[in-house]
Amino acid sequence: MIINHPLLGPRDTSEFTYLGDASLINRPDWQSDTAAPEFHDYLYLRDNPAGTHRELWFHEQGDRSWLVVTRNTLTHEILATELARDVARKTGRGK
């Protein structure tokens, strides 16, 4: 497969390391009253869709960016790639 890196252009996936669902960005608040079940759901449960999937790839053999790649798990078509940092900020993550 080829990932169109937002900064570097098309790169072969063999340069990347895969992590999983981009929902791993949404790490719960440790001080929440229900932190334990929230962390359980965050870390262990997956939508695992047959279709559009947002997922994290690390450009290990490249610029070391984490990317959020939107890819169809039935066809492998890649619909979008973003820097994970930008996605994280958009979802309100900061320090």
């Binding site: 497969m1 996936t13 063999s14 895969y18 992590l19 999983g20 669902d21 079940p37 359980h40 759901d41 870390l43 262990y44 449960l45 997956r46 939508d47 695992n48 869709p49 047959a50 999937h53 997922e55 890819r71 798990t73 039935l74 066809t75 492998h76």
Partner: protein, 416 residues
């Protein structure tokens, strides 16, 4: 009809006119006591043991396509009980025992062949880990032998002992491991289940569950609504999709595992060998093809096909271990969708919905588990209690922290 050499002889005289379908092609009834969703190895085995062990009379298997068309029909056919952890090993030993009597149980030759599995090690730490594992196998009576380099050389002199990047330091030999004819397993269970009255309904896709007051009443299918007292789901790579219809999210991701077969070759390899320094394992089928595989492709997918990097990675491992296969040709490759769980171990459990049971998360190891998976799932569905060797396969184990993580890779399915 009972299968035997004599039966064949009779049919030869009869011009083979007397063979009947291996299983019926019934119309679905309006309701059943037990519905098993998924006509793969696990689903068919579950139905068979529901009928044979628990005398369940009204059982149906619903299959969206044709039976045996999922992972039981696309794997590398290995059977073994060489696990390390208490949650796993007794279960796989039960499976191995069931394998050992399978042909006689089913009256079907699934070609179970215990020609041995040899896991090679290449470092001291790996050998220590194999010792720990081998001992765990001994405690369940599964049998294990720790070999040194010379012991390995005596078995397979053509392996790469002299020019290896990671020299072979020994291996763990599991003599009772081996292979079985994968399609034969599915068909054998199907035929035996059918003979015990199980309705095997092909081309019947489940489109939803009917659930009221926290209890399952039946399933909506492409062939209409079918009622059931109890419903068991055993759909491997489709687990996420099917259970989503019951409103459940699972600790499972779907990944593709590729497997490969070479052209037919005169026998050179008796048992199964796994390479400890790369992603490669291999056996030779009774037809002569080298059957081999490696790692999963590593990204979520429902496509039953993989990509080149993994093929190359597997071949590199193969050539590094067995330099003599350079001129053998890879004939066919295929991909199966694996239900990769968060700790690499499976689930055989109740769900939050009364009467709905789940069997899945077998990762790339479902084939060897087929008999015990069916046996234990049938036990759970029939008695509502987990079988004693399957008590650890709970869906809530991540809440308590009782993971069954053989590889120690944590909550990242593609690393298991």
């Amino acid at each position: 009809m009972r299968y035997s050499a004599l039966a064949i002889m009779r049919q030869v005289l009869n011009g083979h006119r007397g063979w009947t379908p291996a299983w019926r092609d019934p119309e679905p009834q309006s309701n059943y006591d037990f519905i098993v969703i998924g006509g793969g190895g696990h689903g068919l085995a579950t139905a068979y043991y529901l009928a044979s062990e628990h005398k369940a009379a009204r059982v149906a298997v619903l299959e969206k396509g044709w039976i045996g068309g999922g992972n039981v029909g696309r794997n590398t056919t290995i059977i073994r009980a060489n696990y390390m952890l208490d949650g796993n090993q007794p279960f796989y030993e039960l499976s191995l025992k069931l394998w050992e009597n399978l042909e006689q149980d089913l009256n079907y030759n699934a070609m179970v062949s215990q020609r041995g599995i040899l896991n090679l090690c290449h470092t001291d730490a790996q050998r220590d880990a194999y010792r720990r594992r081998g001992n765990a196998m001994m405690f369940t009576g599964s049998g294990a032998e720790l070999l040194d380099t010379e012991g390995v050389r005596a078995m397979y002199p053509y392996l790469n002992f002299d020019d290896a990047r990671f020299p072979i330091k020994g291996g763990l030999l599991h003599r009772r491991g081996g292979t079985a004819r994968h399609d034969g397993v599915a068909w054998g269970y199907a035929r035996a289940a059918d003979q015990r009255g199980v309705d095997i309904i092909q081309n019947c896709e489940v489109k939803g569950f009917r659930i009221e007051n926290g209890k399952v009443l039946g399933v909506e299918t492409t062939r209409g609504y079918i009622g059931a007292k109890k419903v068991g789901v055993a759909v491997a790579g489709s687990s996420g999709r099917v259970m989503a219809q019951a409103g459940m999210r699972l600790p499972i991701e779907s990944h593709v595992l590729q497997a490969f077969v070479s052209e037919g070759l005169k026998p050179v390899l008796d048992g199964v060998i796994t390479y400890g320094a790369g992603h490669f394992y291999v056996s030779q089928s009774d037809k002569g093809g080298l059957v081999f595989g490696g790692d999963i492709d590593g990204y979520n997918t429902y496509a039953q096909r993989g990509n080149l990097p993994v093929v190359e990675d597997v071949a590199e491992g193969g050539m590094s271990l067995m330099p003599m296969i350079g001129r053998a040709r890879l004939l066919r490759m295929w991909g199966g969708v694996m239900d990769m769980s968060m700790d690499g171990s499976p689930f055989i459990d109740r769900t939050g919905i009364d009467g709905l049971f789940f069997n899945g998360g077998w990762c790339y190891g479902g084939f060897k588990a087929t008999p015990a998976s069916g046996f234990c799932f049938a036990h759970l569905m029939a008695t509502e209690r987990p079988h004693e060797v399957a008590t650890a396969f709970r869906l809530d184990r991540f809440k308590t922290g009782r993971m069954i993580d053989e590889k120690g890779m944590g909550a990242q399915p593609n690393l298991h």
